[in-house]
Symmetry: C2
Subunit: 397 residues, 2 copies
């Protein structure tokens, strides 16, 4: 039979990024394409220890159905963690989700009627774009510079789109650009949202992985009118396979969001929630995060040095102070999907910039990840990439 | 600020079933309200053993991001399991979800445009109704009898609603009625769907827990045109806290559904998928299911005998051959929400029938669960319940 899909389903069965990751996954390829954390840093021994304790001490509870809002022990740990980051909150304001992706999906489902506007950074996290599209959002991209989303462009976008529901932003070490929004702009964004009476979805998966520069308070810190919905996750600070994220927001919103979550998957994996809660009780997660930062900082340094050495002049790139990504801009009108094909011949891969753009694509861009390859692989891979770029833009190799 | 929610969000913050479960959760109350499996049957020692093996042998893979479609090892186990149930399928036709609730949500999201009709049994699983409503479905309930959904009523519903997208059915030990659809009706349902060219969502969380009578092939067994989307879960045969379910369907549908799942939560908990795959490799899950059946059959027998002893004449109830639930019909126009309040005074609880009805509520109904209380509690609880019913309908106690 021919299936009559709803309007939420993209017509195309194409999964361009999936295809890129598949090609990049070939064993001979040095891949800077994915956004995978370094698996050699997963605290396996500690997780194994606390998992055994969960089975021994609370196996029946951990394996049974539980509340949609999440395990209280884990929510309490998140209250503590948020306090450290400058956000004073209570357990009623915290819910657990099946990773940040589910947080984005729930919030979008709750706010976006078909035709409503969602304002995003240009470029931005591509799987957030997929979600917004699936609910029929009109997506408006706002220009960025090295200091994050430009506030003059945001003011214009808000003025031009009176049906805006929320601004979606990744203020720290943004995916894909690695850029960080300044404190001034964060405060300004809240002012703009206050004036227009719209929400802000602050997606912060990378904020804890700052390895240079000074911490900046989350946008939520500046929130006076409960309009900031703050999202974060254990994917980058512990392990993404566990699929656990959290939302911090106004408590009546959390109540409603919990009902929506109940419809989505009843609750997130309860065994895993117990494991992570116990890990945070018994270990200092910040000590673990410090190990991650040290390794990522070193890899980022190696990649930067290799870029300076092997990339031709005229190529621009971001200088992240944390997170997982560097954003590259190649001069001219290079189609980086074609550059990708050349790179695959040289056994190196990245993600072309196109899918990160909500609308008009700026050519000649791509994203590099430095968290998932060894220092040697980074050096070799960037050298290959430099050769491929030179071939493509016609510089003498 | 006042949040401007989308049309998908119910206006009311009421959670009537949540409130019932809260009241029923009081320590003094014998609760037949929830749908919880017996936690004393969770195979904790075996799960602990295989979890340690997962950490030792494949910790890095299990804790890393993985494919949205699910862990191949687990999907292969499900192919084997489906074969045993009369459904010959391949790994390409199987995807893993974060429990059946997510399966229902994904399928509804993929098919239902606002105003499209979804046909359901009357009464049916209330959290499926929540999902269908959230996507703007027009829900049409079809009468049941002791043999499941009535096919004459289904034919009429299909004829009356040319914009029907799918039939949602729980053919085995239905929630809430405990009733099972006959093989004849299953075959007939596929014929009706073929003629009208609509889908069937076959939700089968309880089918494996048959403790009396003969096995009946799934509706999927009769499917000639890839129109049956089959859903099942580990919640009732292993442990619901793990939040793992699966979908079996046509392989191009599975591909599209995988893209939607990627947007929903990237993938289901990978550690848990590895644990369950290993459990199924090393242990015979059917042996474990046999233990569950034995205990549930005994509890059902005890509840039935107590009902025969303590309920007044004129009360009708279903006679399940498996699953977790008995459905009760009290004579007269008794409001079972009021009966619930009386019962709470007697320290016993159930779920009133109302939320299970998609439209016109049939008064005087409620659901009893027998899987989660000991035999002694069942005897005492049903005695209390009998007293409360007699008080309410005015029979001499």
């Amino acid at each position: 039979m021919t299936y009559q899909y709803s309007q939420r389903v993209p017509e195309s069965d194409e999964d361009p990024v999936g295809n890129i990751l598949k090609v990049a996954g070939s064993p001979s390829v040095i891949s800077f394409a994915g956004g995978l954390p370094a698996p050699e840093l997963f605290p396996i021994a500690a997780l194994k220890k606390v998992t055994n304790e969960v089975f021994d001490q609370s196996g029946r509870q951990a394996l049974q159905y539980s509340a949609a809002i999440g395990h209280p022990g884990l929510r309490q740990q998140i209250v503590k963690r948020m306090g450290r980051e400058g956000v004073d909150t209570q357990i009623e304001n915290v819910m657990i989700t099946t990773g940040s992706q589910q947080s984005i999906d729930l919030v979008a489902k709750m706010f976006v009627n078909p035709g409503d506007t969602v304002i995003v950074e240009k470029p931005t996290y591509l799987c957030a774009l997929d979600v917004f599209r699936s609910y029929g959002a009109h997506i408006v991209g706002v220009e960025m510079d090295e200091n994050g989303m430009r506030m003059d462009a945001l003011e214009k976008a808000v003025a031009d789109n009176p049906n805006t529901k929320f601004i979606y932003t990744i203020p720290n070490f943004q995916n894909p650009t690695g850029r960080t929004m300044t404190a001034d702009r964060r405060e300004k964004m809240v002012e703009i949202a206050d004036r227009a009476d719209i929400m802000i979805m602050e997606d912060d998966p990378y904020g804890a992985i700052r390895f240079a520069g000074d911490d900046i308070e989350p946008i939520k810190f500046y929130d006076r009118n409960e309009r900031v919905i703050y999202l974060s996750t254990f994917s980058k600070i512990l392990a993404p396979g566990l699929r656990l994220g959290w939302i911090v927001a106004e408590k009546n919103f959390i109540k409603k969001c919990t009902l929506m979550k109940q419809s989505a998957d009843v609750h997130s994996d309860n065994l895993t929630q117990h494991i992570v809660a116990k890990f945070m009780e018994e270990y200092d997660i910040n000590e673990h995060i410090n190990k991650i930062k040290k390794v990522y900082r070193q890899r980022e340094r190696v990649m930067m040095t290799a870029i300076e050495t092997f990339f031709p002049k005229g190529v621009n790139y971001s200088h992240p102070e944390g997170g997982l990504f560097i954003w590259v801009e190649v001069p001219g009108d290079i189609d980086t999907k074609e550059l990708f094909d050349t790179c695959i011949k040289h056994d190196v891969a990245f993600v072309p910039g196109e899918p990160f753009y909500p609308d008009k694509v700026i050519p000649g861009t791509f994203r590099l990840n430095y968290s998932n390859m060894s220092e040697d692989q980074i050096k070799t891979g960037i050298k290959r990439l430099g050769t491929a770029i030179k071939e493509t833009i016609g510089v003498q190799v």
